[in-house]
Symmetry: D2
Subunit: 478 residues, 4 copies
C-alpha cells in the first residue's frame, strides 16, 4: 500500500471533507429525538447517508427493528465502528440557552449526546472507507447502528445474535467534557422487573381478606437493603417502583411492580447477586401470600479495556490535539457554566482532574493515561462488544466542563459548534486508529492476544437470556 494513504494527516483530510455533512446529520437527529427501540427516523437518516456513500445496508440486524449494519469493502481486516442515536425521556430543550426551556413539555431530548455519537461514528466509517477505497487497500469497514443504549442494551441483543463475531477490532466514542482515551472498565449489569400479584380488598372494611402486592414490593426492597451489608462493596443494586397498584388508599393493592438493576465489576458476580435478589423477591412473596414473576429486560457485560488499542488511540489523540474551540465557543461555555452549572457539577464531571481543570470551561488538552486500571461505576452495552472483539473508545470535549449527563444543560449544547468540533475529533481518533490497524496488522494480533488473556479463553456469554426480546417490555406497557 502507498505508505501515507492511511497516515494520520491523510485520514484527517478525509474526515474534514465530509465533516459538515455529518454535523448536519447530527443536528437533524438532535431535532428528532427518539426513545430506545423507537429510533426509526434517526435510523432512516443514517441509512440514507451511508447508502449514498456506497455502503451495503443490512436492516434489522439481530432481529431488532432499529438496528442496522452498513458495510463497505471486502477482505480483512474487518473494522467495526459503533454508533448510538437514542434519546431520553422528558429532556426536550431549546438549543443554545442557559436556562431550562423545553421545546415541548415532556418530550424526549438528546440528553446523552447520542445524536453526535452516531453521526461521529458514521463520519469515521465514511472517512476510513474513503481512505481505503482511494488506494484500493483491502479491508472491510462496518458501521453498526446500535439502538437503545439507554434502555435495554441494543448492542447486547446484537451481540447475542452474533453479528460482532467476525470483527477484528471495534471502536466507539462518547461525547464528553474532556478529551481522553477511555481506560476504565465498567460494571456488568442485569435489569429486571419484579411483578407481584396479590388480592384486592377494601382496606377499612376487610383488610384481612386482601393480600397486598405493594407490601411485597416494599418488603422486597427492605430485604435488598438488608442484603447491602452482605454484598461486595463495589457491587450495586438499585431500583424504581414502576407500579404501586393505584392511588387509592382505601383498597389493598392487588398488583405492584418494581424494576431492579444489579451491577458488579464482573458479570458472574452480578449474576450471583441477581440470584440473591430473586430469592429476596421470592421471600417477599412468601411473606405476603402473593406471587411474583421476574422479567429480565436488559443486561450488559463489563467493558474489557484493551491497552494495545488504547495506547495506539492515545498516541493518535496526542498528535491530533484538542478541538479547536474559538472565542465564541468559550464565551457560551463560560455563560452556561456561570448560569447553569455548579462547582459540584464540575467536581462530579472531572473527578480527580478537578484541581487542574476547575479554571477552564472547555477542555483544550488531553488527559494522561492513568497509573492503574479503574472501574467506572457505570455500565454500557459496549461491554458486550468488548468481550467479543478488541475494542477502544475515546471521549472528546463536546460540552462545557461540568455539564452533567442526562440534563437539559447537555441537550442545549448538543448542536452547537463546540459539540461539532468534539465530534469531528472523535471521528479522527477512531478513523486514524482503525487505519493504524490496517497498516500494522500486528496491532490487531496483539490486541486479540490481550483480549484472550483477559477473558481467560472464556467464550462470550450474553447476560440476556435467549428467550427475552426487547419487545416483551413494550408488550407489557401497551
Amino acid at each position: 500500500m502507498k505508505n501515507d494513504a492511511l497516515s494520520l494527516s491523510e485520514i484527517v483530510r478525509h474526515v474534514h471533507a465530509k465533516a459538515a455533512d455529518y454535523c448536519a446529520l447530527s443536528d437533524r437527529i438532535w431535532t428528532m429525538p427518539e426513545l430506545a427501540f423507537d429510533e426509526h427516523r434517526s435510523v432512516a437518516e443514517q441509512i440514507a447517508m451511508l447508502e449514498r456513500e456506497g455502503f451495503r445496508i443490512t436492516n434489522k440486524t439481530g432481529g431488532i427493528d432499529t438496528a442496522f449494519l452498513a458495510e463497505y469493502g471486502s477482505g480483512g481486516p474487518i473494522l467495526g465502528i459503533l454508533g448510538e442515536f437514542d434519546a431520553l425521556p422528558d429532556l426536550a430543550q431549546v438549543s443554545g440557552l442557559t436556562e431550562h426551556q423545553p421545546t415541548t413539555r415532556g418530550a424526549p431530548g438528546h440528553g446523552c449526546g447520542h445524536n453526535l455519537l452516531g453521526s461521529g461514528s458514521a463520519l469515521a466509517a465514511v472517512a476510513l472507507k474513503d481512505a481505503l477505497s482511494a488506494e484500493g487497500i483491502a479491508g472491510t469497514v462496518r458501521y453498526y447502528g446500535c439502538p437503545a443504549e439507554e434502555a435495554g442494551g441494543g448492542k447486547t441483543y446484537m451481540a447475542r445474535a452474533g453479528i460482532f463475531d467476525d470483527l477484528d477490532v471495534a471502536f466507539s466514542w462518547h461525547p464528553s467534557v474532556v478529551n481522553e482515551v477511555a481506560t476504565k472498565s465498567t460494571l456488568a449489569a442485569i435489569g429486571a422487573y419484579f411483578r407481584f400479584e396479590g388480592r384486592g380488598s377494601h382496606a377499612a372494611a376487610s383488610p384481612h381478606l386482601g393480600r397486598s402486592a405493594l407490601d411485597a414490593v416494599e418488603l422486597m426492597n427492605v430485604g435488598v437493603n438488608y442484603l447491602r451489608e452482605h454484598m461486595p462493596s463495589e457491587a450495586r443494586v438499585h431500583y424504581a417502583i414502576t407500579n404501586t397498584g393505584g392511588n387509592a388508599p382505601n383498597v389493598v393493592q392487588a398488583h405492584a411492580e418494581s424494576i431492579y438493576s444489579v451491577r458488579s465489576p464482573h458479570l458472574p458476580d452480578a449474576e450471583r447477586l441477581f440470584e440473591r435478589v430473586k430469592s429476596i423477591a421470592n421471600g417477599a412473596a412468601l411473606m405476603t401470600e402473593t406471587s411474583v414473576t421476574v422479567q429480565i429486560v436488559g443486561g450488559c457485560s463489563e467493558v474489557l479495556p484493551n491497552t494495545v488499542l488504547r495506547d495506539v488511540m492515545h498516541e493518535n489523540m496526542r498528535r491530533l490535539g484538542p478541538p479547536n474551540f474559538d472565542a465564541a465557543d468559550h464565551a457560551f461555555a463560560r455563560e452556561i457554566t456561570e448560569r447553569a452549572l455548579t462547582s459540584d457539577n464540575v467536581k462530579a464531571s472531572v473527578g480527580p482532574h478537578y484541581a487542574s481543570l476547575k479554571e477552564k470551561v472547555l477542555h483544550d488538552g488531553l488527559l494522561p493515561l492513568p497509573a492503574r486500571e479503574e472501574v467506572s461505576m457505570g455500565s454500557t452495552d459496549v461491554g458486550d462488544v468488548s468481550w467479543i472483539v478488541p475494542t477502544a473508545q475515546c471521549h472528546t470535549a463536546c460540552f462545557a466542563i461540568g455539564t452533567p449527563f442526562h440534563s437539559w444543560q447537555l441537550v442545549t449544547q448538543g448542536n452547537l459548534p463546540a459539540a461539532h468540533k468534539g465530534m469531528v475529533l472523535a471521528a479522527k481518533s477512531m478513523a486514524t486508529t482503525a487505519a493504524d490497524c490496517v497498516r500494522n496488522p500486528d496491532i490487531i494480533a496483539r490486541a486479540k492476544a490481550e483480549l484472550k488473556a483477559r477473558t481467560g479463553g472464556c467464550e462470550y456469554r450474553c447476560p440476556i437470556p435467549s428467550e427475552v426480546s426487547p419487545y416483551d417490555l413494550r408488550a407489557k406497557t401497551a
Copy 2:
C-alpha cells in the same frame, strides 16, 4: 293543617307523580359520570329540574363549584335532604350485561350508584314540597347538592362553611342490596398526602450523594406497620404510594409521595392516631435526611345515629313495604348472580343476614332493627352533617344481593328498572319521615335532644383545617 295532607299515602302519591321524571334524571346522570369536584353537568341537570319545580337555587355553596342548595317554602321546620352524584374512576360499563365490558376503557362510572342517590333525594324533596304547598303548610324544604362524597368529602367542606347549621332534621339514603334503616355509626377519617423531598444522584456512580425520598416513603410505611400492633384494633390506617420518583432505577429518587387514610370510630382518636402517623413521617425524614410536608386533603366525622328518627323511618319503611320487583327484575338479578357474583360476594354484602338471604337474589323484605348499635368499617361525609343536625338514612334494594360497591357489576345495574324501584322507595321513606316531622314537631325535639346527648354538648368541629381547600390537591396535580 289538613290531617292527611302529610299522611304516608298522600306522600306516596306525590312521589309517584314525579317518579318517572327523576328516574330519567338518574339515567341521564348515569350516562355522564363525573369525578369528585368535577360534577358540573350532573349539577346542571339537577338544578334545571329543581328550578322548574320552583326551588330557589344557591350555587357554589361553601365555596365549592359543584355544591348547591335548592330551597322551597319558608318558616320552620327546615327539612334537609342530601344528594350525591359523583362517579368513580375506571368503572365505565355497558348497562344490563352480566360480563365486564367498559363503554370506554378507563373512563369513570357510577360504581356507587350516586346517580340514583342524588335523583332519589331530589325526588323526595320535590314530593315533600308538593305536599306542603298543596295545602299551604309552613316549612322549608331543602335539597343539598353534595359533591365529592368519594374523594375529599364534599359535605365536610359544606359543614365547615356552616350551611347545615339552621337545619332541623336531615335525611339521606344510599342504594344498596337490602332494605333497611341505617343504624350503624361509621369511622371518622382523615386523609393526607406525605410528600418527601430528597436529593437525586446517580444510583451506581454516586449513591452516597443521594438522599432518597422513596426510601422515606417506604420507611414511613415500615414504621406505620410497626404502629399497627400498638393502635386500637378497630382503628384503620391505609395508604397508597402516589409518586415513586420515577421509573428509572439508576437514579436516587429525589421526590416521592404517599397518601394515608387514618380512621377510628371517634374523630379525636383518629386525630391522635394521625399525629402518630405524622411522627412516623418525621421519623422517616430524619432517617433519610429528607424533608416532608403533610397536606390534609380530606376528612369526615363518624356518623352519629339518631334512634328517634331511625325508629320513625323504620316504621314508615315497614308500612311502605319492599320495592315491587317483577319477574324480569328477578330474572336479570339471578343471571348476574350466577354469572358474575360469588357466594363470597353475597356473604360480604349481607354479613350476618347471610343465612336468611342467601337463597334470594333481590331483597323483598325489610331488615329488622339490630339489638345493639354497631360500627360500620367505612366512612362517609354524612357523618359531619349528623354532628350538626339529627340525621336519618335508609338503604334500599337497588341491586342484586351480593353486588359489591365500586364494581362494574353495580354499574351495569345502575339504570335498570330494579334500581329505579329501589330509588323510588328511598324517596318515599325520606319524604314520609320528613312529613312526620312536620306533622309532629315533637319528633324533631326528641331527635335534637338525642343529638345533644350524643355529642355531650360539644360543638361540631370540622376535621379539615380551615385553610385546606378541595382545590389544593388539584393544583398539585395540574
Copy 3:
C-alpha cells in the same frame, strides 16, 4: 343421700375445717417459687397433704415430671378440680411491703398467685371428699396438679395424654381483685421458637461473606408487622427475641432466635395464622440465605364457657357472699393502692366496672353476669380442659383492686390474710358447685349437652403436635 350432706352450709363447714392447713400450704409454696416444669418441691408439698387425706396419687401423669393426679372415692360422677403452682421469673419480693424489694435479686416469685391457686383447689377437693365420705355418697373426687400454666401449658400436654377424658365436670379458679364467675372465652394460642442459622464473618473486613441470622430475625418481624394489616382485628401475634447472636458488633451474627405467640378466638384461625407466620419466617430465611427451624413449644385452646355450670356457680357465690375482709386487710390494701398502684392500674384491672369500683380497695361484692359473652384477650390452658369436659371457673378477690398480674405488687400480697380469705372463698365456690352436680345429676347432663352444642360435636384436638415434649425446650437451653 342425706339431704343436707352436700348442702352449701355443710360444704362450707368442711372447707373451714381444713382452711388453715391449706393456707399454710399456700404460704409454703409462696416461699419456694419454682418455674414452669420445675415445680418439684411444690408438687411434693401438695402430694404429702393429699396422701395424708387418703387420696390415691398418680405421679408424672401425661409424661410430665411435675404433673400429678390425686383421686378419692369411686363411681360416678367424676369431679375434677384443677390446681396450678408455677411461679414467674425475676419477681421475688418481700411480703407485705408497699415498695419493690426482692428477697433475692433475679429470683422467681409467685407473680400470678398460683401458690393460692393450687392450695385453694386442693382445699376444695379435700372438703368435697370429706362431704362425700362422711355420708358414703358415691362419686370420685380428683385433684389435678397442673404444672407450667405460665409457659408451655401443662394442661395442654395433660389433655393430649387423655387424662381429663373421663371427667364429668371440671372446676378451677384464679386469684383476682374481684369476685365473679368467669364468663369469658379466651384466645387460643400457639407458641413457637424460630431459630435461624447463618454464617459468621468479620463485620468490617468481610461482611459480604457473612449471612446474618439476626437480619433474618428482624426481617421476619418486619414481615409480621406487614401481616398485621391483613389479619383479623381480634387476632394477636407477639414475640420476643431470645437470641441475638451475641453482643459483639464486629461479627456477622450466625445464630439468632425469636419466639412468637400467635393467638385467635378460635384455634383453627390461630393455626391458619401460624402457618402464615411460618411462611414469613421462610421468606426471611430466603431473603438472607439462612436456614430456619421452627419449634412449637406450647399452645392452648380457647376456653369454652359453660353457662349451665356458670349459673350454678354464680348462685352459690351469691349465697356465699364476698370474703370477710377486716380493717387490717383494708388498711394494707389502701396503703399499697396509694403508694404502689395508679388509677391506670385500677382501670386496667377492673375495666368496665371502673366507675363502680374506683372508690374501693378490696372488692366486697359479686360482679353480675354480663349481658353477652365476650372474649378475654388472654389465653389459658384451662381452655383445653374446657373442650373435653364442662368446666367452670371463678375469680375471687385476693388482692387490692388495681394490682396487676405478674407484678411485685401481687407477690407482696400473696401470703397475706386477705389472700387467704379470697382463696377460701374460691374453695367454697368450687366445692359447693361440685356438690350440686352430685346432688343434681341433671346439671351435668345439661352442661354436657351445652358443651356438645358448642363444639358442634368436634373432637378435642390438641394444639401441640404429638412429637413435641415440654423438655425439648429445656434441652435446647442446657
Copy 4:
C-alpha cells in the same frame, strides 16, 4: 557514642539475653486471660518484671486502672513501645491441640495473641534500655502498658489524656501468620450504645397501650440498612442487639438496646456518618413514641502509616530474617492446618499473597512492601497514637498460615515455641528500629515531617468525648 552499641547485631544480642524470661511472661499471661479494663494480674506481672529492670513505673495513667507507663533513662529522644495484654470472651482453649477443647467452658482466652504482644514489646523496651545503658547513651525508653485494645480502645483514652504527647517515635507490633512491616491504614471507628425506653403492656390484652423499645431497636436497624445505599462504599456500620427487653413474647418490650460501630477511612467521615446513625435512632424513637439515649463507649482514629519509619523497619526485618522455625514447629503447624483450618481460612489470612503462600504452613520469608498504600478494613487504637507521634508496626509469624484471629485455633498456638520465635523477632524489629532512630536523629526528623504532612498540621482530636469514661459502661451492666 560507640559506633556499634546500637547496631543490629548488638541489639539482637540484648534481646536474646532476656528472651526466655519474656517468653515465660507471655506464657503466664496466656494462662490468666483477663478481659478489657480488667487486666489487673497481667499488669502486675509486667510491672514486676520491668521494675526489676530498673524502669520507673507510673500506675493508672490517663485515669485508667490497668494502664501504666514504665520509663527508663533520660533526655531525648523519647522512644515509646506499646504493649497490649487483654483477652477475649469465651475463647478458653487447651494449648497445643488441633481440636476445640476449652480449659473452662465460657472462660476468656487470648484469641488475639495479646499475651505475646505485651511481652514482646516489653522485651524490646528492656533490650533497648540495656543497649543504651551499657554505653551510657542518652535517651528515654518507655513501655506503655495499654489495656483494652479489644473493647473501648485503651490507647484512645490514654491519647486523650496526653500521655503520648512528648514521644518522638512509637513502635508496636501484632502477632500474625506472616512477617511484614505494617503498611496499611485502618478504619477510624466510633462505638456507641443506643438505649430505647418505651412502655410495657400486655401484648395480647392491651398492645395499644404499649410503646415498644424493641420495635425502636429494629426500626433503627431498618433505617441503617436503608442508609447503606447512601454511604461511601468503604465505610462500615455494624451492630449487635444487647438488650431485647426480655424473653417473654406476651409483653410489649419497654427497654431495649443495641450497640453500633461506625467506621470510615477518615475520622471526620466516621463522625459525620455517626451523626446520620444518630438521626436514624432519633427517627426510630419518633416512630415508636419511645425515647433514646446514646452512649459513646469507644472510638479510635485511623492509623497514619509512616513510610520513613516503615522503610527503616523493613530494612531491619530483611536483615534479621524470618523466625527460625524447626521441624517440630512445622509439624504442629501442618497438623493444625490439616485438621482445623480450611483453604478459605488461608485465603482470608493471606489475601493477595495466597498464590505464593498456599503451600506453606509457617511463613519463612518477609512480605515485600506494597506498591501503594491500602486501607485495612479493621480498626485499632494504635491509630490514635499514630496521629500524635510517628509510629511503626510490624507483624511476625507466630501462628500457622490460615489461623483466624479471635479463634480457638489461635489460642491453642499462643504459648508454643513457634509463637515465642515470632515474638522475639518482633522485639528485635522494634528495638533495632528504635536504636536506628537514636543513632540517626534525622530519621525522627523526617518521620515527624511526614506525620505533619499527613495530618495537614491538624491537631490530634480524640474521637471519645471528654466526659466519657471506660467505666460508664461497666456501671451500666453492674
